[in-house]
């Protein structure tokens, strides 16, 4: 079974050289720590920067340089700064090759719910609806089940949707799954020490298991 760092590490293996990548708040942010050697990716933050670098040192902290999670950041050589309309022009116009974000629920047709729980205080969708509606390549990073032990991979989302038929891949603490809208979640990899049976039990939506399911290689 993976912890959050493990999920981020597994997702980092999806990165391809030259990609522009938008990382959501939470587990996705950790992906930046595990970019493989020889892979040059550029991180975009939707508040208006391309070429986001690591967190600053105390001396480097600049109130005018934050990411979409409102954390202080640095800019790498080659960075560019722009306004919010231009930022979402990049996103909506599909100039960003990969979006990684968290979710509360994902359906086996690729719907995602990650912004609102009825009856609880709604904080807003931020940029999530724009990101999921436009990205050609969306990976969801999340735990396979919620705190009550219920599956977050469903046949249909019960929560208000963020986007429809948009999620392409899911990396959880238990597995890597591809969304095939016609057939459901196709199991690609098991987390170390996790059995196919455990994944079946934790998945409420349609699960497709074909052939041998390899264990993730995180080396």
């Amino acid at each position: 079974m993976l912890d959050k760092t493990g999920i981020a590490k597994r997702i980092s293996r999806e990165l391809q050289d030259g990609w522009y990548v938008n990382l959501g708040i939470g587990i996705p942010t950790l992906v930046a720590n595990f970019v493989p050697e020889g892979i040059d990716v550029t991180f975009q933050s939707e508040n208006g920067i391309l070429g986001m670098g690591p967190f600053p040192t105390e001396a480097e902290v600049d109130a005018d340089l934050i990411n979409a999670g409102k954390q202080t950041i640095t800019a790498l050589p080659g960075a560019a700064i722009f306004d919010s309309a231009t930022s979402f022009a990049m996103i909506r116009g599909q100039h960003i090759q990969l979006t990684v974000l968290g979710a509360m629920e994902v359906s086996d047709t690729g719907d995602i719910a990650n912004w609102k729980i009825p009856g609880k205080l709604v904080k807003g969708m931020g940029g999530a609806m724009d990101l999921v509606a436009s990205a050609e390549n969306i990976i969801v990073a999340m735990m396979h089940t919620n705190r009550a032990g219920e599956s977050k991979l469903l046949s249909e989302c019960s929560l208000p949707l963020t986007g429809v038929r948009c999620v392409k891949k899911i990396v959880t603490n238990l597995a890597v799954l591809e969304v095939t809208p016609d057939r459901g979640f196709r199991l690609l990899e098991r987390a170390p020490g996790v059995s196919v049976e455990q994944i079946k039990e934790a998945t409420a939506g349609r699960l497709v298991v074909e052939g041998d399911i390899p264990e993730m290689d995180l080396s």
Binding site: K70, A75, S84, V122
Partner: protein, 229 residues
């Protein structure tokens, strides 16, 4: 044309109860903190505020929430503010949540004379409810309309008395698009210079979009999540 006004109080002259304001900034980064303070010092109420966020309890738009001057908030994310929660749950505050990219584009559209445009964001969600849906290239889109405001209030790094503005870092964010969308646009800047001191090639907001400008002193520029390595 000299658009300089003396200070924030003079800059906000004419803002009245019931008006719609746009306020630049993302979180507390790049917010027009001097004009917000000046507004908090008035008895103007029933404002509709369009801003990506709603400040924190004791800074930014949180100050106007605390003094109950805001009737309606149009934003994309409002999670950092306990006063906001109280007023929203009690029904005192109306809230309209808009996807961040649609918010930015709707402001730009308002400033650019584009009354409506199609975007895929929000299709199939409650944001799309009641909106026209149309497919382009096999993908469903919804029709979103332009946003404008009686006053737009923005914060820039440098400006000149003709109203030309230059922003610094990610404090730029919504400021340029909101500057375009105000019937009257107020700019507060850290440094106000004479025309000719800024390179025409480096202007982010051309002066035509700005009607009033002043230099604020001692910007607090509070950091919400100071994160270091």
């Amino acid at each position: 044309m000299n658009k300089r006004v003396a200070n924030a109080r003079e800059a906000i002259a004419g803002i009245q109860s019931g008006m719609t304001l746009m306020l630049g900034g993302f979180g507390l980064c790049g917010i027009p903190e001097k004009c917000i303070l000046a507004l908090a010092d008035t008895d103007i109420t029933d404002l509709t505020c369009i801003s990506n966020n709603a400040g924190v309890d004791d800074f930014g738009l949180g100050l106007l929430l605390h003094s109950r001057q805001i009737r309606k908030m149009i934003a994309s994310y409002v999670g950092e503010n306990a006063e906001f929660e109280r007023q929203m749950l009690s029904g005192d505050l109306e809230v309209d949540l808009i996807p961040q990219g649609s918010l930015a584009e709707r402001c730009r559209a308002g400033g650019a004379g584009i009354p409506a445009f199609f975007t895929p964001a929000g299709y199939g969600t409650e944001v799309g409810e009641g909106k026209e849906v149309r497919e382009f290239n096999g993908k469903p889109h919804i029709l979103e309309t332009a946003l404008t405001a009686d006053f737009a209030i923005v914060k820039a790094w440098k400006g000149d008395t003709d109203g030309n503005l230059i922003y610094k870092g990610t404090a730029r964010n919504f400021n340029p698009v909101m500057a375009m969308a105000g019937r009257i646009t107020i700019a507060e800047v850290e440094e106000l210079v004479e025309p000719g001191e800024l390179d025409p090639n480096q202007i982010h907001t051309p002066g035509v979009f700005v009607q009033r400008i002043f230099q604020g002193d001692n910007y607090e520029k509070r950091i919400e999540k100071r994160t270091t390595r």
